[in-house]
């Protein structure tokens, strides 16, 4: 049995996740006068992938870049995170990014640590620099304070497990109260829901066997947004493309961008063509461009590859160590000090990590809304736009604003607590808690990772491998539901995360089967070529009547194309009217 808390939380806008996107969505909504609740799995002061800091905030600052947005937009789309953008979203993001930079600066996050707006890192020599360097170590504290100042109510230790949809529109969400040893379900009635659950990590194995939580992005981000959106019927895009990331060998929780050095082979020679000596303005972009460099040289035997800062000036080394602190890598700095690693003398080995989901997930429109009315998504989980922390901040704010405006026209609250979904989850979670024997959530998590590594990896895929993997995933899901056992609230939260990971895995298997070509990191041995007919096409996956659907649609390049695609999407029968006609009848 699991108790359902009788006290529903009521708000205009519920934000699921108190990370960067979530707090900014909450602030955006509160600025529109909405009553806003942020439901956070851990604690807003330190949760999510921006927990202890960050290094760069992509933005267009006209006084630095000039008034022409086009070169900056072009640079964004050509950058390491530019691959999967519906361009009107990227444009809107850039237009509003500076306003958010100024917000942050005003709230006490130092966006001018060099005394002026300064752009360094991730840069190509001789090209516009678009990554604003900032000092992010206090960002979560500052944003939490700002959200509270705007009247946002933050409920910590309340992970949201599901969106509650009634007649095609959001009426609330289901939360899991983990403040006590014994978990309780808590229903939130809301007119709009902003999903801000971050990326999906723990989907593929960590570089160190047995360490599920050795991840670059926050290990508590397990595809909550993608899974909730999928279950709610929203469309997700680009799920078939593995995103790869590199950094310090084995210690995945360490960024790469802040290192001011050259990527070299064992002989000390640069592996890329860009630079032979790095400084704070231009580091080695080799791994951004050749993102498999670290794995490739290991497979070929030419490795290992190193981050080589031995030629970097001491002044830039000091700047880099300061930057590592500001991006939240204090654990690494302490370790280097303890192990007496001297970056002027020692070269650190780097590696490529297993994939995770970022910039793959729900497709949103210019308002941040998914294809489900009242359901918004922002941050690392969005599938048709990506600008990492700056994207989370800027489009989070946009999603919050529009969610608040939509909530204004909604009528009375629907009794979300009466939804069949709540009863179903109560039965399922209650069974997990009632069992005296059974599988532990980690067993299921490891099996998900094994299946993803072997049947949906970034090296080779095929219809037979993907088909087998999807079948085994189905078996795993059935066995998990039948045998999982949880001892307490913490374990139930982890179990719900594993269910989310299985939803993400399912979408990846399906989308990877449907994209019958090789493109980028999606490598099909049964379709070895890159098909020009599938260029500039996004593959959407969603479910309808319990059955997965897939469909290709064009990547949106301009407003005409945007109107054709998103205009048609929003012209579907207005669920709000249907909702008004049946109010109270859930």
């Amino acid at each position: 049995m699991i108790q359902v808390d009788k006290r529903c939380i009521e708000c205009d806008v519920l934000v699921a996740g108190g990370g960067i996107a979530g707090l900014m969505a909450a602030i955006g909504a509160a600025r529109q006068g909405a009553r806003v609740v942020v439901a956070e799995k851990a604690h807003a002061l330190r949760s999510g992938s921006g927990a202890t800091g960050n290094d760069h905030f992509m933005s267009w600052i006209p006084e630095k870049h000039g008034d022409d947005i086009e070169p900056i937009l072009k640079e964004l789309l050509n950058s390491q995170i530019g691959g999967f953008h519906d361009v009107p979203l990227s444009r809107k993001f850039l237009e509003q990014s500076f306003a958010r930079v100024r917000d942050w600066h005003e709230w006490g996050i130092d966006m001018k640590p060099n005394g002026d707006w300064s752009f360094c890192g991730h840069a190509f020599p001789g090209r516009p620099r678009i990554w604003l360097k900032y000092a992010g170590s206090n960002q979560k504290r500052a944003l939490t304070r700002a959200a509270k100042k705007h009247g946002v109510r933050i409920v910590n230790h309340l992970p949201i497990t599901d969106a509650i949809v009634h007649k095609g529109r959001i009426i609330g969400a289901l939360g899991l109260d983990i403040t006590q040893e014994t978990p309780r379900l808590r229903v939130v009635r809301a007119h709009a829901l902003v999903l801000a659950g971050g990326s999906a990590v723990r989907l593929y194995p960590s570089p160190s066997p047995s360490m599920l939580f050795n991840t670059a992005w926050c290990p508590a981000c397990t595809g909550n947004t993608q899974a909730s959106a999928y279950r709610a019927g929203a469309r997700l895009v680009n799920m078939e493309f593995p995103n790869l990331h590199a950094g310090i060998k084995y210690m995945e929780r360490a960024g790469k961008a802040t290192f001011i050095g050259v990527i070299t082979g064992p002989d000390g020679k640069a592996l890329g063509p860009f630079i032979t000596k790095a400084n704070r303005w231009v580091g080695d972009i080799t791994a951004d461009v050749w993102n498999s460099v670290f794995g490739d040289v290991m497979k070929s035997g030419e490795g290992p590859a190193y981050m080589d800062c031995t030629a970097t000036d001491q002044e830039d080394i000091d700047y880099m160590l300061w930057g590592l602190k500001e991006e939240g890598n204090t654990g690494l700095i302490d370790t280097m000090a303890r192990e007496k690693v001297d970056l002027r003398r020692h070269r650190l080995e780097f590696m490529q990590y297993q994939p995770f989901l970022i910039g793959r997930g729900p497709e949103i429109d210019l308002d941040g809304q998914t294809s489900v009315r009242g359901l918004y998504a922002a941050g690392d989980a969005v599938g048709n736009f990506r600008a990492d922390i700056a994207g989370a901040a800027t489009f989070g704010h946009i999603a919050g604003e529009h969610a608040a405006r939509a909530a204004r026209t909604a009528g009375a609250f629907e009794p979300a607590e009466e939804s069949e979904l709540v009863a179903g989850r109560a039965r399922q979670f209650g069974a997990f808690l009632a069992r005296n024997e059974g599988a532990h959530w980690k067993e299921a998590n490891y099996m998900v990772q094994q299946l993803m590594r072997d049947y949906a990896n970034a090296e080779v895929r095929s219809a037979t491998l993907l088909g087998a993997g999807l079948k085994y995933l189905g078996d795993l899901r059935r066995r998990t539901i039948e045998t999982l056992r949880c001892a307490n609230a913490h374990e139930l939260m982890r179990s719900a995360e594993v269910m989310e990971l299985m939803d993400c895995a399912e979408m990846i298997f399906i989308a990877a089967q449907a994209r019958q070509e090789t493109r980028g990191t999606h490598r099909r041995s049964d379709f070895r070529f890159t098909n020009p007919l599938l260029a500039e096409k996004f593959l959407a996956v969603w479910q309808e009547g319990g059955r997965p659907k897939v469909s290709f649609r064009p990547r949106i390049a301009d407003m005409d194309a945007y109107e054709r695609y998103f205009g048609a999407r929003s012209a579907q029968p207005a669920p709000r009217e249907a909702f008004a006609a049946t109010a109270g009848g859930a």
Binding site: N214, T215, R345
Partner: protein
């Protein structure tokens, strides 16, 4: 396993409250929290950063496990073989070589 409390912990419970991975007990009883799920640590350092400690000392520190040790090389290292070879690289023992008859 990480994290590790020391004598400077004042039992305030901030670490337990802010941990993104929920690895600590959250009893709010002004005792040193228990590390319930050490293998779920993200090494993010939030507990250490937010620890007020006592007398200017942090009450908690992060212990990085051996699997995550930094791997580095010293470019100035000698290019000497890491072993001594007895005989030559084909395993030909000079003591029994037919080319080198002995008196």
């Amino acid at each position: 396993m990480p994290p590790v409390f020391n004598a400077h912990c004042n039992g305030c419970g901030i670490c337990a409250n802010v941990c993104p991975s929920d690895v600590f007990s959250r009893d709010n009883d002004h005792q040193v929290p228990r590390v319930l799920y050490p293998d779920e640590c993200w090494y993010c350092d939030a507990c250490v950063l937010d620890c007020p400690g006592e007398g200017g000392h942090k009450g908690i520190e992060l212990r990085i496990p051996l699997q995550l040790s930094l791997l580095w090389i010293d470019p100035a290292a000698e290019r000497r073989l890491p072993y001594d070879i007895i005989g030559d690289h084909l395993g030909t023992d000079p003591d029994y070589s037919w080319e080198m008859p002995r008196e």
